[in-house]
Each structure stands twice: as C-alpha cells, then as structure tokens.
C-alpha cells in the first residue's frame, strides 16, 4: 500500500535559520505533491503544489523540491520566524494521502 512518511519528531530551530522538513513516500508515483500548514485547533491550509516534472517551486520564503527518483520532497522555510511555528503536512495526489506531519517550533 502507499505510504508517506514525515519526521514525527518536532523540529526546533532558531529564528532566522532555514528550516528543512522531509517527506518520503513509497509504492506510489504521484503526479503532484502538496504541502499544508496546520495550526492547533484549525484545519490545514494549502501552501504549495509541485508537479512531478518540476524540480523546485518557490513562494516567498518557502521552497519545495520534488525528487521522483528518491521519492522525496523537501520543504524549506528560509529566514524562519516564530510565526512559522506550526505542523506541516505533505500530501500526495490525487485523493490526497497525507503524512502525519512534522511540528516546527521556531524560537526567538
């Protein structure tokens, strides 16, 4: 069956540094992959979508890479801020199979 893995341990980084979150998947060849942000008590909020033929996608301080050979996506937040603290979820097309998410904590 399809499996998608994100680091379940929280990622703690200092403000101003780059946060890098990993999403690995198996037994699947998604046409695209999405990243979401979820704050406590709220629903996920869409951030970025990257297609299988795209190596990299950027949006402001966010960057996503997609390596279909490694079956891995990396999510980067540059110049991180305490307001970036949240849980970040990756999801595979097409009916959105979600990973369990990685909690990011940015300290001042």
């Amino acid at each position: 069956s399809q499996k998608i893995e994100q680091n379940s341990e929280a990622l703690n980084i200092q403000e101003g540094k780059t946060a890098t979150l990993t999403c690995n998947y198996t037994n699947y060849s998604p046409a695209y992959l999405q990243w979401y942000r979820q704050d406590p008590g709220r629903g996920p909020v869409f951030l970025l979508l990257i297609r299988e033929n795209e190596k990299e996608k950027r949006k402001e301080r966010l960057k996503v890479t997609f390596d279909t050979t490694l079956k891995q996506s990396l999510f980067h937040i540059t110049a991180s801020q305490p307001a970036d603290s949240a849980t970040y979820l990756c999801a595979l097309s097409d009916k959105l199979i979600f990973g369990t998410g990685t909690r990011l904590q940015v300290f001042p």
Binding site: G41, P44, F46, D94, K95, L96, I97, T100
Partner: protein, 116 residues
C-alpha cells in the same frame, strides 16, 4: 475558513447513537471530502464526492456513510457511533477539473466528536 463551514464544531454523543456532521460550501466546487484526524495517523480519507449524488469510499469508510443531495452540502453520518470514531473530522473542497492547477484543497475548521 472562507467558503466552507462545518457544523457542529463540537459534539459529544453516546455509543450506539447515529450522528450526522454537515459540511457546507459556497464555492460551487465539484469535489468534497471527509477526513478524520487522529494522533499518529494523520489525516485519513473517509469518503469523497465528485458531484451531486456521486460519492466513493476512502481509506477508512467502514461505519460511515455520506450523502450529497446538493452541490453545497456534504453530510457524513455515523450510523451507530463507537468509541473508535472519537476523532476530529475535517471537510475539504477542491475545484479539481482533471487538470493540475496550483490550487490545493480548502479545509473547514473541523468537528471534534467524542463518543462516550
């Protein structure tokens, strides 16, 4: 969240009782989804709909049924609630047209259901 509302936001019910959760959208999107979110499992798809009266099962559909009689409403029913169905339920919508766009899903704020 803009364009999608879930009701109720919180509900406590007894084992064995039927429960219906409602998702309402004002975006006229074709696709609607019900997920449940549990610690250690993340978001799991229960059922989804690709049009009025058109629905299909997701990964964890046992014990759940859905109905969509109007584009804007997607109902999730627990026929006979069990403690294992205690969870946070999210509804989502998308304007999937068969062409990959740069838009993702829009999620509601969730319903926290406790079955005692």
């Amino acid at each position: 969240d803009a364009g999608i509302t879930q009701s109720p936001r919180h509900k406590v019910t007894e084992t064995g009782t039927p429960v219906t959760l409602r998702c309402h959208q004002t975006e006229n999107h074709r696709y609607m989804y019900w997920y449940r979110q549990d610690p250690g499992h993340g978001l799991r798809l229960i059922h989804y709909s690709y049009g009025v009266k058109d629905t299909d099962k997701g990964e964890v559909s046992d014990g759940y049924s859905v109905s969509r009689s109007k584009t804007e409403d997607f109902l999730l029913t627990l026929e006979s609630a069990t403690s294992s169905q205690t969870s946070v339920y999210f509804c989502a919508i998308s304007e999937w047209t068969g062409i990959i766009t740069n838009y993702g899903y829009t999620f509601g704020s969730g319903t926290r259901l406790t079955v005692v």
